[in-house]
Amino acid sequence: MQYIIVGAGPSGVIACETIRKLDQKAQITLITGQKEPPYSRMAIPYFLEHKITEAGTYLRHNSEHFRALNIIVINEKITAIVTPKNTIKLADGTELGYEKLLLATGAHAVSPPIEGISLNDVHNCWTLEDARNIASKAVSGSSVVLMGAGFIGCIILESLLKRGVNLTIVEMGDRMVPRMMDDTAGGLLKSWCESKGVKILTSEQVTSISEADSSDKHSLIVNLKDSQDLSADLVICATGVKSNIDFLDGSGIIVDQGIIVNEFLQTNIDNIYASGDVAQGLDFSDQSLHVQAIQPTAVEHGRIAAINMVQHNSCVHHGSINMNILDTMGLISASFGQWMGVEGGQESILLDAKNFRYLNLQFKDECLVGMSSLGHTQNIGVVRGLIRSKVKLGIWKQRMMKDPSRLMEAYLADL
């Protein structure tokens, strides 16, 4: 069987490996639009703070890994899929035939359409190439403006500060990580950052960026909607990502925010599957289709899609739980599932603002459906276990309503 996997992020790589485990004879080709060996963007913050080298970001450390598994890697961008012919076209003009195709083409960073967004010293923070650019410009004493205080913005804060830059964050929302935490936690996160010397402007917008006069010691002027202009040597734009679906125009594959997939991670075309940041797949919590764009979902998708490609849709995807864990200069926040609560649900909250500790549990009937926290790390994975297994908590729900910190006891009660 001829398999082509497009995209060498975590989802594509784990899919290739899973196919190889299940089918020793399969012909597997991995297509990547990037020049580097498959790498992980989760590791980029640690590259920026010099904790690891570029090689430390690689998804697989053994340089012979793919060759040893007899997986052919082609470093070329995909330009189109010709579904009636079962072929894909690459940027260099090559056309390759497949019997089963997995689209794991990921996402790209998006920038707001403002004047000056394409200037030299304005960069996204998404690819290794972006990271190299940031590393060369975020030097000690420089002024950096970070647009966006979402997950990606927050996760690089520590590395930027360790590089010795003067940092200002501009966030459109009314708090930090608005799509991951409620206003209590987002507010605490903001005061935590401010206590570490970061200037944060929430409910604020960059309206344009322009080049500074040559006499100015900074290269950029950042204009804001309400506040005074900022001078900067580097603007990092971390305002969101979008699925890479443009090459699908005319392919007949149905897309919305991402590629629509069914419970087998299969597209509307039988022999084409999609996984990871490009796939709009089932969300466990609300059973609707979302692009989650998170690492655990990418990996889960990749494995399940691969099994279904080899073993004829034998493995049902029951939905992935949206979840994030974020280390913002030492303050660890996490959120799972329906952390914002559900209609007719109940919540239990523990707040110790002085020590930046917060725990918020969300219940629906007798089940845990969501959680968000600050400063809690021990055994945190059980939240996924409890949500996923829909355990009826019974008396333990009552106990957790009084004291949410009894989460681990509730989990172990039946053991």
Binding site: P10, I14, T18, K21, L22, S40, R41, M42, A43, P45, Y46, K51, I52, G56, T57, Y58, L59, R60, H61, Q295, P296, V299, E300, R303, I304, A306, I307, Q311, S314, C315, V316, H317, H318, M323, N324, I325, D327, G330, I332, A334, F336, T377, Q378, N379, I380, G381, V382, V383, R384, G385, R388, S389, M408, E409, Y411, L412, A413, L415
Partner: protein, 162 residues
């Protein structure tokens, strides 16, 4: 035959010798907070439950790791964290539905049970045999594995998880 840690909470007295032994073996200090095995106390019932990684075949932590830092020890069956590769991103800690891989703020990396390379010190230290290291097919283990199956999306296809 592969051996497993088998935990029998009914025999646990809450003495925390396992936590001490684990912390000393892995961190060089007698500090229960650094232990990879944790004894949870149920005050109302007067019950103690030692809890650590079951080295599950699904290896959620291993699959979720973005930098290939968790690998399978083919001799013991343990999933082991390679400190030189771990960047401390913590994705494994939310991915493991058992909550048995944890972030260690002092090292900036994650820690989990590695069966001490085949001689788990918690089992040696346990005075009541609440923790034993024996052939895998035993009761307590089955119960924990049952948890694995309810939380597992892909349990019908364990062949892909080996």
């Amino acid at each position: 035959m592969e051996k497993s840690l088998v935990i029998n909470p009914d025999k646990c007295t809450g003495c925390l010798q396992c936590e001490m032994a684990c912390s000393y073996e892995n961190e060089g200090v007698f500090n229960p907070s650094k232990s990879r095995i944790k004894v949870f106390t149920f005050h109302q019932e007067g019950r103690f439950v030692p809890y650590t990684c079951t080295q599950c075949s699904d290896a959620w932590c291993q699959h979720a790791c973005p930098v290939d830092a968790i690998s399978l020890n083919l001799v013991t069956g343990a999933k082991e964290v390679n400190d030189s590769s771990c960047v401390g991103c913590k994705v494994c800690t939310i991915s493991c539905p058992f909550g048995t891989i944890n972030y260690n703020q002092s090292s900036g990396k994650v820690i989990k049970c590695d069966l001490c390379g085949g001689d788990p010190k918690c089992a040696t230290a346990c005075p009541t045999q609440a923790i034993t290291y024996i052939d895998a097919n035993q009761t307590g283990m089955d119960k924990m594995r049952k948890w694995a199956s309810v939380t597992d999306n892909t349990s019908t296809n364990t062949s892909a998880n080996a």
